[in-house]
Symmetry: C2
Subunit: 393 residues, 2 copies
């Protein structure tokens, strides 16, 4: 039988090649100013420190780190991580599991909860990568409306009552792609709605520490009395995405199911990588490192906002207090996908907003990343982008 | 709603806590001689070399390694890995994907192929971890009979014709748990049967390089004309399991589906870990390292076989040419689970064989690992085990 007759699993039926991946192919050329990715700035990646810590942990614990580890995590890291996560989340955490980047946290949570056809409530727009993850579990994605302060509580309760979802997926702080933050006063009600309707909340909060202005809001998890909120954390944006270390924290039964699932997925997260992040935490290196990153990112955000102020009338955009992204809504009738083609000719790239909507549409929106460009690139690139938009009006 | 009312996904219905995990809890005490695990010897873990290579790659490419990488793998490693894998497998490989340990290769292959209820043919007994992985995909596991030379071709064809499986899972070299090797003359027919019936073969070959005697057999993949054989490789047994680096290689469409699946699982395997293994390959360090490991493991295997020779009449066991395991069949009527309790009292542990059978049974079998014990421990532990068995006759 010819291999072309192979039958792949039905979970691939709804999976198309990532549109963003196609964009990255188009823009992989010299002199491109890319506002498209979600990468940390090269300057924010602590390569010298990681080299030092890697040498240290391999010298002190080399045989242990190179041997098989426990699925539950490298014991010293589980200890330091629990302490760190409880401070970050602002409440005791019955169980914490180190994972291979927080994408794996989402994957394991879906593995624990989602049967084909189960409903997941999602923000609209939301993070493309995790939408795809849920699609692989053949979830029924139901978008819930937001305003500038995040999810609308009445719409959320309506959707919970109507659809009996297994899961609500929410990025509460400096959301990807919009940069919006869920208002503090909506967080307790979301934890209460989750318990009322028996819906697990995946609180995905990788940008939490990247705050440049405004006041931190308590986590949804901190209002969770019953255990329905699972907190997904990541060291990708504050130490390194290439190391692939994140975590999931919350109710012991949920984390136990994720641990069983992880055993058959990658056995355990690489010990060396856990040990490096462990040293960041134990040596207290993170606060100063984050302070330095935030200082740079604040200037980059401000430069991009400054340029947006001179964009054509009818353009609106978010003014995020942190994170990596600004969300732009162009005058009605403009199509960000067409603009992207012209922008690439001018050596500037972004991601059309339509890709982040569970059901498409919203062609006049786009996502801009400011963390991975220098101030000069931001000024040059945004001026070119403005001209491309002006020429299309 | 109380969290105890949470409904987990049905894929957990057939999953019980791992019996082996329970054994590991029982034997986690000082002075235990463990023949239970599948761990490399501490002496086989190249901690000083890994420390040196980690320092080198972080110095030379730190910013690249700490940034996001491609799901397809770290480009220099994809190059060196392809060359290495083609030499190991003995044929050109259209596509090679680095993964987070070869358990992930199995997980991604199941994700690509298996819908609930699909049939997978498995050796009987087989590797517990990957049986559990397939159970998570709600596969219907159908055991196929073997003799001392591995899978019986007539039984295999019968099962293919009868069950229309999506996948055949086979560990052809120094199999886990039996230590058996699939006879060279059965390998071409298996590749041909796979193509005849349109069945993907997962050729899981992590022990291939750990040969202490006998002649290497060509891979099943090397006889694969159509692309139905996917080769799963690992650096866990020859460099380090804690680094979590393996690969899947084969037909481009199959590897592409695995790549899409991996994107939503852990985005990419940690760059640092890929770069370390890349240096092992590029600097040509592996042959000498493997030669040294094999020298030690050969002595350990021989010591265990020597002790087995004086086991009670009616005991039979495999005489593997490599790998990590010897498989023991005790006189009928003995129960290895009961013997384990008594053995633990004597500070010796092993894994009862029943756990490796898809449908249980075979209570008089057990698996012994020789790689993770010293010669002295092997002699002492095997003498104690012999006495425990003799006392039970």
């Amino acid at each position: 039988m010819n291999i072309s007759e192979i039958q792949f699993a039905h979970r691939f039926d709804g999976i198309t090649g990532s549109a963003i991946r196609e964009i990255f192919k188009l823009i992989a050329q010299p002199n491109m100013i890319s506002f498209a990715g979600g990468n940390p700035s090269p300057a924010a990646l602590p390569d010298e420190k990681v080299a030092e810590l890697a040498a240290q942990v391999l010298r002190d614990k080399g045989k242990v780190l190179l041997q098989y580890g426990a699925t539950e995590g490298y014991a010293p890291f589980v200890e330091s991580l629990k302490q760190y996560a409880e401070a970050a989340v602002g409440c005791p955490l019955p169980a914490v599991l180190p994972v291979t980047g927080s994408t794996q946290a989402m994957d394991l949570l879906c593995k624990a909860l989602i049967d084909p056809g189960d409903t997941v409530l999602v923000e609209n727009p939301s993070f493309l990568g995790n939408l795809q993850c849920m699609k692989f579990y053949q979830a029924n994605l139901v978008p819930v409306e937001s305003d500038e302060n995040g999810l609308l509580l009445d719409k959320l309760e309506e959707a919970m009552a109507k659809h009996h979802p297994k899961l609500l997926y929410v990025i509460p702080t400096f959301q990807n792609p919009t940069g919006k933050t869920l208002a503090a006063e909506r967080r307790r009600p979301i934890a209460e709605l989750a318990a009322k309707y028996g819906v697990v909340v995946a609180e995905d909060d990788p940008y939490r520490d990247l705050r440049y202005s405004g006041t931190p809001a308590p986590s949804i998890k901190s209002f969770d009395k019953e255990g329905w909120v699972a907190f997904l954390g990541s060291f990708s944006k504050i130490i390194s995405p290439g190391l692939r270390v994140g975590y999931i924290a919350g109710d012991a039964a949920i984390v136990r199911k994720c641990t069983l699932g992880k055993q058959s997925t990658d056995v355990h997260t690489a010990n060396l990588n856990q040990a490096i992040v462990d040293q960041f935490l134990r040596q207290g290196l993170l606060p100063e490192h984050i302070r330095r990153i935030c200082g740079d990112y604040r200037l980059q955000r401000d430069a991009m906002l400054e340029e947006l102020a001179s964009f054509p009338a009818g353009t609106s955009y978010t003014r995020p207090d942190g994170g990596l992204f600004i969300w732009v809504t162009l005058p009605e009738g403009l199509d960000a996908k067409q603009l992207l083609e012209k922008a690439i000719e001018r050596h500037v790239a972004f991601v059309p907003g339509t890709h982040f909507y569970a059901n498409g549409g919203h062609e006049n929106t786009l996502r801009l990343n400011f963390s991975n460009s220098t101030l000069e690139q931001i000024h040059t690139g945004m001026a070119a982008l403005r001209q491309v938009i002006e020429a299309s009006l």
